[in-house]
């Protein structure tokens, strides 16, 4: 909760220039923050029994309301809050996607049926793993409803992240987005050691990356005398001198963002965190953080550093290639499905970077489309993973998936759809996404980048299909996991993910138009 407060504070001091803030445009952010505060209060004042339903109502209402506001704001292009927030096509598009995906993620988090002893989160994160209290709380069937305020804050941070127009807001948004995630990562009900380890790694590395980001913005500020992205852009064109400040600053800022994106060599937190966190949170992170981080990355690159394209393009070339290759190659020898999808998400980040490097309108549009397609597919995939279980919790080891296709064909089929989409087989969203990204890249002359991407996606196809092979070509054994019957929540999330994946693959035109009309970033 920064920008508005900042404004008010100023207003008390100097009444004669009130900051111009278009509350209508930033309403989504405010709504989510408000929801966060509200649910903190709910935690404080509503008796335990009632908390969960109230929290859910608050969250879902907030998400839907925010989405409504985004729709209402559709088409507007404005810089508000004293130039620190830019509401434009891409921003709104990403906000809308974020909200929808967050909605599905929230449903996964709210799921209570698949695990006999409650939801995916520890009854009390404070209790020691395996301790007496933990057992007690579990028996009493306590649920940790503190996840909801964290969730709301995180989402609000994301919404702010993709529209923030100066480095300070961006930094603050980054933290608002990340801090709750650090905590959520550590709250798994089962395998708590892993969960805590994930939280710590995520936190320390995240903090390190934000330090880089911050120092980078300091240098950029020193170079340009401002933290506004457009001003920085002007300064870059204005004075080519003092380039080392600019260069190092730009590099550090980009590093901070590439870390969140999960690009090689800043990717190593991804597998550990994805594997350790509670599966719904993993899905939430995998889908939304990717969107938010890429949103910010695109904005920085296209708005602030647009004049520097010839400097960062080669670097991103190499990073994109590394990311695609390392991600897909390491994934083929993974034995844990969550970890495999983590590496897959790294590879996917690489493919999106291919579109980013193009640095053209088509590139931007294709990246946006890819983000949308990828987010829904991922949520769906993790929904399935959350359902494949055995007595000790989720059965994430690949060997446990052998023959799943025979035991529960429908879920397996859904998962197959997601895998095919990630592999980029036609008639799925993933194919159109890859197609548009490659098209943009080739149009921009990055043919060789596309060739590498093609080879990488072949390697990727191998491990995606490996799961399919396991599920359908192997006999179910005693080891095979059973698919728990979920409540309406997961069902809806799963169905939505599958539907979007297929629809975007068969009739992508509307969304393609949307991303095309999203136009470029305002500056």
């Amino acid at each position: 909760m920064s920008a508005p407060a900042f404004g008010m504070h100023l207003a008390d001091v100097v009444p004669f220039n009130l900051p111009s803030i278009d509350y209508r445009l930033i309403a989504p952010i405010l709504i989510l923050m408000g929801a966060g505060l509200l649910s903190v209060l709910v935690e404080a004042f509503i008796p335990r029994r009632g908390r969960r339903p109230v929290q859910l109502i608050v969250v879902f209402v907030a998400l839907l309301a925010a989405f409504a506001m985004v729709l209402a704001a559709a088409g507007s292009r404005a810089v508000t809050a004293e130039g620190s927030i830019a509401i434009d096509g891409p921003g709104l598009l990403l906000q809308g996607t974020l909200l929808l995906v967050a909605l599905l993620a929230a449903m996964l988090m709210a799921e209570r049926m698949v695990d006999p002893s409650g939801d995916a989160f520890a009854p009390r994160a404070s209790t020691l793993p395996g301790s007496e209290d933990e057992r007690q709380f579990t028996q009493r069937g306590y649920l940790q409803t503190e996840i909801w305020p964290l969730f709301c804050f995180s989402v609000s941070g994301m919404l702010l992240f993709v529209v923030s127009n100066d480095l300070l807001i961006m930094f603050v948004a980054l933290e608002i987005m990340s801090l709750p995630l650090y905590l959520l990562a550590g709250m798994a009900r089962r395998r708590r050691l892993l969960s805590q380890e994930a939280a710590m790694k995520y936190f320390l590395l995240g903090a390190l990356s934000s330090a880089f980001f911050l120092y980078g913005s300091a240098l950029l500020y020193g170079f340009s005398g401002s933290i506004d992205l457009p001003v920085i852009a002007d300064q870059i064109t204005a004075k080519p001198s003092q380039s080392w400040l600019l260069m190092i600053g730009a590099a550090f800022v980009l590093i901070g963002l590439l870390f969140k994106v999960g690009a090689v060599p800043f990717h190593q937190w991804v597998p550990d965190v994805y594997q350790g966190s509670p599966t719904p949170v993993t899905g939430f992170m995998a889908a939304t953080v990717k969107i938010a981080a890429f949103g910010a990355l695109l904005r920085v690159l296209y708005v602030a550093l647009g004049g520097l394209q010839w400097d960062w393009a080669p670097m991103l070339w190499i990073i994109a290639i590394l990311t695609m290759v390392v991600g897909s190659v390491i994934a083929i020898t993974q034995t844990d499905i969550k970890r495999m999808l983590a590496y897959s998400s790294i590879a996917q980040a690489g493919f999106i970077l291919v579109g980013v490097v193009a640095a053209t309108r088509e590139g931007l549009a294709s990246a946006l489309f890819y983000l949308i397609a990828y987010a829904f597919t991922t949520i769906g995939a993790f929904a399935v993973i959350a359902m494949a279980r055995d007595s000790s919790g989720e059965a994430t080891h690949l060997s446990r998936w052998a023959g799943l296709g025979r035991k529960s064909p429908i879920v397996a089929t859904a998962f197959t759809i997601f895998m095919l989409a990630l592999a980029g087989i036609p008639l799925t969203s993933g194919f159109i996404a890859k197609f548009s990204v490659f098209t943009a890249a080739i149009a921009a002359g990055d043919t060789w980048l596309v060739i590498v991407a093609v080879l990488a996606s072949l390697v990727a196809a191998f491990f995606y299909l490996r799961v399919v092979v396991l599920m359908f070509f192997a006999e179910p054994g005693p080891e095979t996991a059973t698919v728990a019957v979920p409540s309406v929540f997961t069902t809806v999330a799963l169905a939505a993910g599958a539907t979007v994946t297929v629809v975007l693959g068969v009739v992508p035109q509307p969304v393609l138009e949307m991303v095309a009309n999203a136009d470029v970033f305002i500056r």
Partner: protein, 631 residues
């Protein structure tokens, strides 16, 4: 080019000639068990029907003036594309007419004979089906009006021959022989196929009319190429050197098959092809010479093999090779030879069929034993067979007035016209013929009985002997009939070009010399195999004998030059495919996998190493950016 008449009257039924036996084959082969009973008789009827139709056509044709005797019937457009157009069309002229009669009449006789010969075979329905198929294919071969359609018949008879040689497939030897025959014939087919291609690129058409019509315009080189390729084809089909190896094994088939396919008709298709293509060979001297050479070589190969074999059928097969050698030689002599090649082909078709069927009749009585060393003195028990066989014998060695005498004599004479050496060689061949045929007759019908104990020879029954008798009559009169009554030269002249009439004097001379040689050879044979008792186990024999028993190493040569190398090559390629081509593909996969395994080790699980790679990456990125900027 000679003009070609539309098919009218009986000629409008040309297609029926083929369709009848083809339908018979279809019914018998698809009909299944239900046709077991009456199937064979249907098979006979279809061929007899074609024969009757053939005779009708002959009569109608004789009614026509000579230049109008080339009739064509176009059924429909068969294979076509821009620049290519081949019809399903038939051409009945004097040449194909005589073939039609030979095929259908001899075919009918052999069908009838088979009724008896195959009586006890469980699969006789199939047998007759195959025979019908053969007759249909053979008729297509001689009735086609273009080379591509001829090709269909060409391989059709090959197929029938394959099926019939391997009729007793349970015997591995039979199956192997069948495969061998087909594959060696395929080599010949390559020649035919390529010849057709050359014709097409040269003349833009593959019909006889177009090709022969424009032949004069083509360069001699092209014509020579075509001629040699056609010769290759002929060698395959007619078992001429160097593609002769299959014929002897082909005797694995039932004896009527040997009579019909491997004596009377199919093996003579090569002669037909060359004579039919006379327009080419007339203008390609070298090709024609090559034909003569091949023919001569085969005359002696066949004769020598025939003289050494103890298996009566193989001995006859050798003789067949030799006799076809005569025809091929004649066909190579040019216009003066063509007619007599065909003439000899017809007579040979009749008397050799008779001889084979006679051999079959003998085997029938001897529990299918073929070893002449276990025969002997059969003249007492099977009189008709003996007489008919003896007539055939007289015919083949060329004793006047039997059929073989006229035709062979004409060839020898024509050879002298071309060059004394050829004539001399042919006369020598005639002598050897006399020898091995006498040997055969002596061992089989005369001398002491050397039968195995459980063998009780007996004369075959009428259904088999009547065809023998008819063929024997044919062997007696056919020569004179064709020559003096049928005037075969004039009959064929429009197709084969003018045959220069031989001058009587030299005729007398050649007749005398050749007769002398024949008698000498024959008497040697008689003396050798009647004076002394024939040993039941063959003596080691001279080097030549042993070579001849091994078919003059024909198989060994093929084995060493072709078969072994190709199997070796295939084994090498199989290994190469697995180890290298596929190995490369799998190698890549393995490499990526290993790479992945090594790469994931860097994900050590220590937060600080992650931090390190981040900081390191940061430094690199900064350096990279500065480098890009400064450079």
């Amino acid at each position: 080019m000679e003009q070609i008449m539309p098919a009218t009257g009986a000629f409008s039924l040309i297609w029926v000639l083929i369709a009848l036996p083809l339908a018979g084959a279809a019914v018998l082969l698809l009909g299944g068990r239900m046709t077991n009973k009456w199937g064979p008789y249907l098979g006979v009827l279809t061929v007899v029907g074609s024969a009757a139709l053939g005779v009708v056509m002959l009569l109608q044709m004789m009614g026509l003036p000579a230049e109008d005797r080339s009739i064509q019937q176009v059924a429909y457009r068969w294979v076509f594309a821009d620049g290519l157009s081949v019809d399903m069309a038939f051409r009945l002229d004097q040449l194909s007419m005589v073939f039609v009669l030979l095929i259908t009449i001899v075919g009918s006789l052999i069908h009838v004979y088979s009724l008896g010969y195959m009586e006890h075979d469980p699969d006789r329905r199939k047998f007759f089906g195959y025979l019908n198929l053969f007759v249909a294919a053979m008729l297509l071969l001689v009735l086609a009006n273009n080379y591509l359609l001829l090709y269909v018949g060409w391989e059709g008879v090959g197929l029938a021959s394959y099926l019939l040689i391997g009729f007793w497939q349970v015997k591995p030897s039979a199956a192997a022989a069948a495969k061998k025959a087909f594959i060696i014939n395929r080599v010949g087919d390559v020649g035919l196929g390529l010849a057709i291609m050359v014709m097409f690129v040269t003349f833009g058409s593959v019909t006889f009319a177009d090709v022969f019509g424009q032949a004069s315009a083509a360069s001699e080189g092209t014509l020579t190429a075509i001629g040699l390729l056609l010769l290759l084809a002929a060698c395959g089909k007619s078992a001429q050197f160097p593609l002769q190896a299959w014929l002897l094994d082909a005797m694995e088939g039932p004896t009527p098959v040997s009579a019909l396919i491997h004596a009377a008709t199919m093996v003579t298709a090569g002669v037909y092809l060359i004579v039919r293509s006379n327009a080419i060979f007339d203008r390609a001297v070298w090709a024609a010479t090559a034909v003569v050479v091949v023919g001569l070589i085969t005359v002696f190969m066949g004769a020598i093999i025939g003289s050494a074999k103890d298996d009566i059928k193989k001995s006859l097969a050798g003789s067949t090779m030799s006799q076809i050698g005569y025809m091929i030689t004649a066909a190579g002599l040019g216009p003066i030879g063509y007619v007599f090649a065909i003439f000899h082909l017809l007579t040979h078709g009749v008397f050799k069929a008779g001889l084979f069927l006679g051999a079959g009749s003998v085997m029938h009585g001897m529990n299918d034993g073929v070893n002449m060393r276990r025969y002997g003195a059969l003249r007492k028990v099977m009189v008709i067979t003996t007489i008919t066989f003896f007539i055939g014998y007289l015919a083949i060695i060329g004793i006047p007035p039997f059929a073989g005498f006229w035709s062979k004599d004409e060839i020898i004479h024509a050879a002298f016209e071309k060059g004394p050496v050829i004539g001399a060689l042919l006369i020598l061949g005639a002598g050897i013929t006399g020898f091995y045929m006498s040997r055969m007759v002596a061992m089989t019908f005369f001398g002491k009985a050397r039968w195995e104990d459980d063998v009780h020879p007996h004369e075959s029954k009428a259904v088999m002997t009547i065809p023998l008798i008819i063929l024997a009559i044919g062997s007696t009169v056919l020569g004179m009939a064709l020559l003096f009554w049928g005037h075969i030269e004039e009959w064929l002249e429009p197709v084969t070009g003018i045959a220069t009439a031989p001058s009587p004097l030299s005729t007398a001379a050649t007749i005398g010399i050749s007769l002398a040689f024949v008698i000498v050879g024959a008497s040697i044979g008689w003396i050798m195999y009647l004076r002394r008792e024939v040993p039941i186990t063959a003596p080691r024999g001279s080097l030549l004998t042993r070579a001849a028993r091994r078919d003059l190493y024909g198989d060994d040569v093929n084995e060493v030059l072709v078969v072994r190398p190709s199997y070796w090559l295939s084994r090498v390629l199989v290994w190469f495919d697995r180890a290298w081509v596929d190995g490369f593909v799998n190698g890549i996969a393995a490499f990526v996998g290993g790479f992945s395994g090594r790469l994931r080790r860097y994900q050590s699980g220590f937060a600080r190493s992650y931090a390190l790679s981040m900081v390191g990456g940061a430094v690199l990125v900064v350096l990279a950016l500065l480098l890009v900027r400064l450079s």
